[in-house]
């Protein structure tokens, strides 16, 4: 049975890269599932069953992490000693200060019953959604850049982008909730 690989990348037999071929990843996931899934060991010894359970849990956790670009980037950052936490995303990225201020005011107005704020919130939502898409493109470029150069500086850049993206995601969610909630 042996011991389990210590990183998700190793489990999937992949290099520690950020730009992954998702089709290839899926194929590996299916092959490894057939090999390790507890269903194949249900009449075997307790040890084999436990191993299958542990291995498949790691496999599934790994697949969930690696197939999602954001989770994958965070995972690789952690592997490289970066601290990742929700806390850092609570700080407003300086370049967004002005817009966030506007959005918060509009949110307050809508909560106070001022329906005219709805339009500006919808505009803000569309704007931030657009920003999010732009960030995703920027991330993809940086992923390729890191895979090529393996420079720590690129990872630092990526961490900054991730924080910004997380901040925008939370903001979009909040606006979305207020818009649909108020409409209902």
């Amino acid at each position: 049975m042996g011991s389990l690989p210590s990183t998700y990348y190793d489990f999937f037999g992949l290099e520690h890269r950020l730009d992954l071929d998702l089709r290839d990843l899926e194929k590996r996931f299916y092959t490894l599932s057939r090999e390790h899934h507890p269903d194949r060991f249900s009449l075997k010894s307790r040890e084999e069953q436990q191993y299958a359970l542990d291995a498949t849990a790691i496999l599934n956790d790994g697949y969930r992490t690696l197939r999602d670009p954001l989770a994958r980037a965070e995972y690789l950052l952690k592997e490289n000693g970066f601290e990742i936490g929700e806390q850092s995303s609570k700080n407003i990225p300086p370049e967004l200060l002005e817009e966030v201020f506007e959005v918060n005011r509009a949110l307050e107005e809508l909560r106070g019953g001022d329906e005219s704020a709805r339009q500006s919130l919808e505009d803000a939502r569309n704007k931030f959604t657009g920003m999010r898409d732009a960030i995703d493109t920027e991330l993809a470029e940086n992923f390729r850049e890191y895979d090529r150069s393996r420079e720590r500086g690129v990872l630092e850049q990526i961490r900054g982008i991730l924080n910004r993206r997380r901040y925008i995601r939370n903001l979009v969610n909040e606006v979305e909730k207020e818009l649909t909630g108020a409409a209902a």
Binding site: H37, D39, D61
Partner: protein
């Protein structure tokens, strides 16, 4: 078993069981490798999930118990699945609509009163499982000890655990709990389609599930589940009952809603009318009760008006499921219907409209889940190769943090087994315990989610505040059940964890139920053996009585006749005792001392027969 009977190539039999709200059934993989239903001893394929405790204290399950619903409604229980793994506070709505008799003093574990005894929901489910096990053993002619049991996809941890407990109490090792819609997909053999996306719409007696799966060369990968554990055909029945009860109140000037017998009779009438309406545009609900007659016509049009909101309530979860699966309606290639309620034309057209696809209905919607469970049983026992089911957890798992907020560790629709590791520490110097409150659900505040259990990390090494590092691993296994382990990250030592389930039974309680059920099984076994021994004693006593009048008896010596009389009296003495072994011993003794008598009689018979032929 003699050595000649051992077949070394034999695979261990695992059966599939659909433990339903309204009906249950078992299935197995036949010699040709096809899933096939195991009929009950009365030949019926569906076993009503009804349990009754007779006046004599016998437990009866199925059709016979259903008959008792009317005459002995206070000793009979149905729809027990609605109470599995739930606390009294959860089921107040259920209690208004269903005549469950919850015993006094039920708190975190519900106890149901049947006659003078009380049972927990897992024990009642265990009676149903035991019946299915017995049916399987009779039908297959071999002992059955392992099973795959299905559960609604949307069942939470407690409900799953309760189902597994029921299996243990019934003497069945539940190798796997499989989600009902996923099982249905397996039964349809949709793997023949090498690639594709399939939706399974499962409207059962008490629960609604929707699942979206991706098929890939024998792998069934569930992308997302959604559902409602309080929505099903019985809600439709209750609508019709409500109308009829109101009519009757006006016509008879009598409120029958608290008359268990009347409501049960009406329920049967309403279900029959509902089923007919799937095939005819109008029918009557008819009730004959204690010399009174009630009848009203119900058209399909009115019926559909009555149930529109129930059908609509299934559509929200469907849309959410499509979104969670990350697919569009157009990408869904096929839709499978499961559960008796999907026979209703309005349900079918609603599904067709939503998914833009004509649903599969070739397999009997009442049987398809059990058939799928049999396929999964085949996968586990190795007789079905190349197929593999990758299911997901329906609800997010989290822990309560500061301010009663939930921090999610494993998100819903994560493929299981799934795990998450969290590190905990102490808040004050020398603290020895840390309590972790685990919840399941999607809401932000702990109080709005389902409490699963509290885990007490005990005997932590005393250290300054914040220095302890306890790594806790939360693992959801392939059955969707949570396992928790902990270790001290500083020493690597395993950390002891005490589990306090919020609902359901502790391990000790389940063990107690198992041993009680084994005791009772032994009691039952003894009673049967004794009865059989007495039947045999009757036979030999009658034979000896007759033989005494035969000439051959007179040919015996006095001593031989004395031995017979003695053995006869000894048998009569033990006849009424409960020890079947003792009765058997005396029967053997009587047999032994009458051997010569029997031989003599045989000879006399032969010689007189010979004489006869000569004349």
């Amino acid at each position: 078993m003699t050595p000649l009977e051992i077949d070394f190539g034999k695979q261990e039999r695992v059966v599939g069981i659909d433990l339903g709200t309204t009906n249950s059934l078992g299935a197995y993989m036949d010699a040709a490798g096809h899933p096939s239903v195991i009929p009950g001893d009365d030949g019926d394929r569906l076993i009503p999930s009804v349990v009754t405790l007779t006046q004599k204290g016998e437990v009866v399950v199925g059709n016979k118990a259903r008959a008792a619903l009317i005459d002995e409604s206070d000793r009979t229980v149905y729809s027990i699945k609605r109470l599995m793994g739930r606390g009294v506070a959860d089921v107040q709505e259920e209690l208004k609509l269903f005549p469950f008799r919850v015993a006094e003093g039920s708190e975190s574990v519900i106890r149901i009163q049947l006659g003078d005894r009380t049972f927990t929901p897992p024990e009642i489910s265990a009676f149903i499982l035991r019946q299915l096990k017995k049916n399987a053993e009779t039908f297959l002619g071999e002992a059955v000890t392992k099973a795959v049991v299905t559960v609604p996809a949307y069942f939470n941890d407690g409900q799953r655990q309760a189902t597994k407990d029921a299996g243990r109490v019934a003497g069945l090792e539940v190798l796997r709990l499989v989600n009902e819609p996923t099982a249905a997909a397996l039964a349809y053999g949709l793997d023949k389609r090498r690639e594709g996306t399939v939706a399974v719409y499962d409207l059962g007696g008490g629960t609604f599930d929707i699942s979206i799966l991706k098929l890939h060369d024998g792998i069934f990968e569930v992308l997302a589940n959604n559902g409602d554990t309080h929505l099903g055909g019985e809600d439709i029945d209750n609508r019709l009952i409500h109308i009829a009860v109101e009519d009757i109140h006006t016509e008879w000037s009598k409120d029958i809603s608290h008359d268990g017998e009347a409501v049960q009779t009406l329920r049967r009438a309403v279900i029959e009318a509902k089923e007919r309406l799937s095939f005819v545009p109008a029918t009557n609900i008819e009730l004959n009760y204690k010399g009174k007659h009630y009848q009203r016509e119900i058209t399909r049009e009115l019926f559909e008006k009555l149930i529109t909101d129930i059908v609509d309530r299934t559509l929200g979860p469907c849309r959410a499921c499509i979104k969670d699966a990350g697919v569009t309606v157009e990408q869904i290639d096929e839709v499978v219907l499961v559960g008796g309620s999907t026979r209703i034309p309005m349900v079918r057209s609603a599904v067709e409209t939503l998914f833009h696809a004509k649903p599969h209905t070739d397999l009997n919607p009442d049987e398809v889940v059990a058939l799928g469970a049999a396929v999964q049983a085949g996968i586990l026992s190795g007789t079905v190769e190349n197929q593999l089911l990758l299911d997901v957890t329906p609800l997010s798992l989290g822990i309560e943090t500061m301010g009663g907020v939930v921090s999610k560790l494993i998100h819903r629709n994560s493929t299981i087994p799934a795990s998450a590791t969290e590190t905990f520490t102490t808040a004050v110097e020398g603290q020895r315990n840390v309590l972790i409150h685990v919840l399941q659900g999607e809401r932000e505040l702990a109080k709005d989610n389902r409490s699963l259990a509290r885990f007490d990390l005990k005997d932590i090494d005393p250290l300054p505040a914040g220095m302890a590092r306890i790594e806790v691993r939360f693992l959801i296994d392939a059955n969707g059940i949570l396992n928790v382990t902990a270790r001290d990250a500083r020493t690597g030592k395993e950390q002891s964890v005490e589990i306090k389930p919020s609902y359901g039974l502790t391990d000790e309680q389940v063990e107690a139920m198992i041993s009680e059920s084994i005791d009772r099984a032994e009691e039952d076994f003894n009673a049967r053996q004794t009865a059989e021994a007495r039947v045999e004693a009757d036979r030999i006593l009658a034979a000896v009585d007759k033989a005494k009048r035969n000439d051959a008896y007179l040919d015996l010596t006095d001593e031989e006749r004395g031995d017979i009389t003695k053995a006869l009296n000894e048998l009569l003495v033990v006849y009424h005792c409960d020890d079947h072994l003792l009765i058997r011993a005396k029967i053997d003794q009587l047999n032994h001392v009458t051997m010569k008598l029997a031989e003599n009689m045989m000879n006399t018979a032969v010689s007189s027969a010979l004489k006869g032929t000569k004349i």
